[in-house]
């Protein structure tokens, strides 16, 4: 049953060295505070899954926490490349990492298969794509009814998924709104799920019946971290800090500048610092 926990405790109880973990958020609701807590606790040999491993995986890879990444777009969205991830893939710095690369369609279908309890996902994809020849997990099946050859990829089943969301009610049900991305599937596909939220409200009784709500029994732990997705955003609370994404390109370009930034903004910081970081990104009242 879901527990409301301080973030450091939620992370410590649910993430372990060697785990396969997803910190999901499709450009929105990225669980930055949870990722930073994981960095502070110094986990090792993680297999990191994410469709769009942007700043937080650049940071985790740059800190040497990842053994392997499974992804479909390893870029800084709208800005360019991820320089710490590049350094690891191109130069093995600070350690070599294994790469399992898919398309978005492949990852989205694989998460959905994980949520559905299926062993694999089947879809029309990867035709003529070079990824099919470099990733042994991209295979094919023949439709028993039509004979069409379709792509197959293994289901994604993380040991633990972390997401950020708008709010929880007092019972621990969680509401996700806006660009919902892959948040629901990431939670349902995982053995354990940890959710950071902007706030807790008394009840969800007045919500529209078709909204995306994750029932409390699908979640292991909830931590209240206002601003917890910065520099990503939380629809209805604060906007994306595009300037921070542009700035990251410069920070991550240099190994020493990266280390100094991580020390000041992550290691010597706490989850409580996130609220102040989004103050200027909240709509004027």
């Amino acid at each position: 049953m879901v527990q409301f926990l301080p973030l450091n405790q939620a992370v410590a109880e649910n993430l372990h060295d060697g785990d396969t973990v997803a910190f999901e958020g499709f450009t929105h609701l990225i669980p930055t505070a949870a990722a930073h807590e994981a960095i502070r606790q110094g986990f090792r040999n993680l297999t990191l899954i994410r469709m769009t491993p942007d700043l937080i995986y650049d940071q985790m890879i740059g800190m040497g926490m990842a053994r392997k990444i499974i992804f479909s777009y390893v870029g800084n969205p709208g800005v360019g490349l991820l320089r710490r991830a590049r350094d690891a893939i191109e130069n093995g710095f600070p350690r070599a990492i294994e790469v399992e690369e898919h398309s978005h369609a492949g990852m989205a279908n694989a998460y959905e298969a994980g949520a559905a309890g299926l062993p694999c996902a089947v879809f029309r994809g990867y035709r003529g794509a070079g990824l099919a020849s470099v990733n042994p997990n991209i295979r094919s099946v023949t439709c028993p009814f039509t004979g069409e050859v379709l792509a197959a990829v293994p289901a994604i089943r993380p040991d633990v998924s972390f997401i950020h969301a708008q709010k929880a009610d007092r019972k621990g049900n969680v509401l996700v709104e806006g660009i919902i991305g892959i948040q629901k599937e990431a939670v349902l596909a995982a053995k354990r799920a940890v959710v950071t939220v902007e706030e807790v409200v008394d009840s969800f009784d007045d919500l529209h019946p078709n909204l995306t709500v994750l029932p409390r029994w699908t979640i292991a732990a909830i931590s209240v971290v206002p601003g917890g997705s910065h520099p990503s955003y939380t629809h209805g609370y604060y906007v994306r800090d595009n300037a921070a994404y542009l700035e990251w390109d410069e920070i991550a370009a240099d190994r020493e500048r990266f280390q100094a930034w991580m020390q000041a903004n992550v290691i010597d910081s706490t989850a409580g610092d996130f609220a102040a970081r989004v103050e200027h990104l909240r709509p004027a009242a």
């Binding site: 499709f26 479909s72 390893v74 191109e90 369609a105 879809f123 070079g130 990824l131 892959i182 200027h280």
Partner: protein
């Protein structure tokens, strides 16, 4: 006086506007970020007000006031007809055959419209690791047609791409069909210098229209393969006042919006 001043517009502006003209009011367009996004929104703000713009973050029928920095900016969701989950986006809408135009950019492109955005060099030991395909591998095969837009350079337009991120016409001819791909693939390439269309048989991109003031030599000098030109070569109509104003206003609003967060932060 520079060439741009004489013409009254830049090659990039001409590229974006030429690309916008290719889109129709009833198109359902899957929009790639960057140059395609600007072209699609200029189309929406000029001759195609009812065009459906879809970004891979799940926003369907979006009408942003400023160009998004990422495919997941909040503005896309706030102005969309509906926002769906990412699996639904790729399964029902793209794979389901509901996209008329997939609009892509390219880091590396060959003459058959195959695109590389994955690696420069060898895949296992890349010289440069690029972001990868994201949605593009399936946009390229499930959209009914694909338009490509990119600025010309010898580094970008090459004889042989390093990695087949998104399949165009493969080796040309009926290669798509042989792989069981039943969509048309790349039917249009708009660069900063010219408009290109595939040869009906070989599927090799052929220049059909030069932008105003552009010579054949300029097109060849910035392209890594031997360029074929159509027998009846057109000149692309110069941007109209409305097109230029719309594009420049959109870019000014975008610049102000994205710098806004930085300034407020500094204050």
């Amino acid at each position: 006086m520079s060439e741009d001043q004489k013409l009254g517009f830049t090659p990039n502006e001409m590229m974006t506007i030429a690309a916008s003209r290719a889109l129709k009011n009833d198109d359902v367009c899957f929009v790639g970020i960057g140059a395609p996004s600007a072209a699609c929104n200029v189309a929406r703000l000029t001759h195609a007000p009812d065009i459906t713009l879809i970004y891979e973050s799940g926003t369907i029928g979006t009408a942003p006031d400023v160009l998004p920095l990422s495919i997941g900016d909040g503005e896309l969701c706030e102005t969309a007809v509906t926002t769906v989950a990412v699996p639904e986006m790729f399964r029902y809408w793209l794979q389901g055959g509901r996209i008329s135009i997939g609009f892509l950019g390219a880091a590396q492109l060959d003459k058959f419209g195959n695109i590389n955005t994955t690696v420069i060099g060898d895949y296992a030991h890349p010289k440069t690791r690029l972001p990868g395909g994201g949605g593009a591998p399936e946009i390229a095969t499930s959209s009914r047609e694909v338009y490509i837009t990119m600025a010309q350079s010898k580094r970008g337009m090459v004889e042989t791409i390093d990695f087949f991120t998104s399949f165009g016409h493969g080796e040309g001819g009926d290669h798509r069909k042989r792989l069981g791909i039943d969509t048309a693939g790349p039917t249009l390439l708009i660069t900063d210098l010219a408009v290109w269309k595939p040869d009906p048989v070989t599927k090799e991109f052929t220049v059909v229209s030069l932008h105003p003031g552009v010579s054949r030599e300029q097109v060849q000098a910035t392209c890594g393969w031997t360029v074929k030109f159509a027998e009846a070569l057109d000149e692309t109509p110069a941007p109209s006042e409305l097109e230029l104003t719309t594009l420049r206003d959109l870019q000014a609003r975008t610049k102000a919006a994205h710098e806004g967060t930085a300034k407020e932060k500094a204050a």
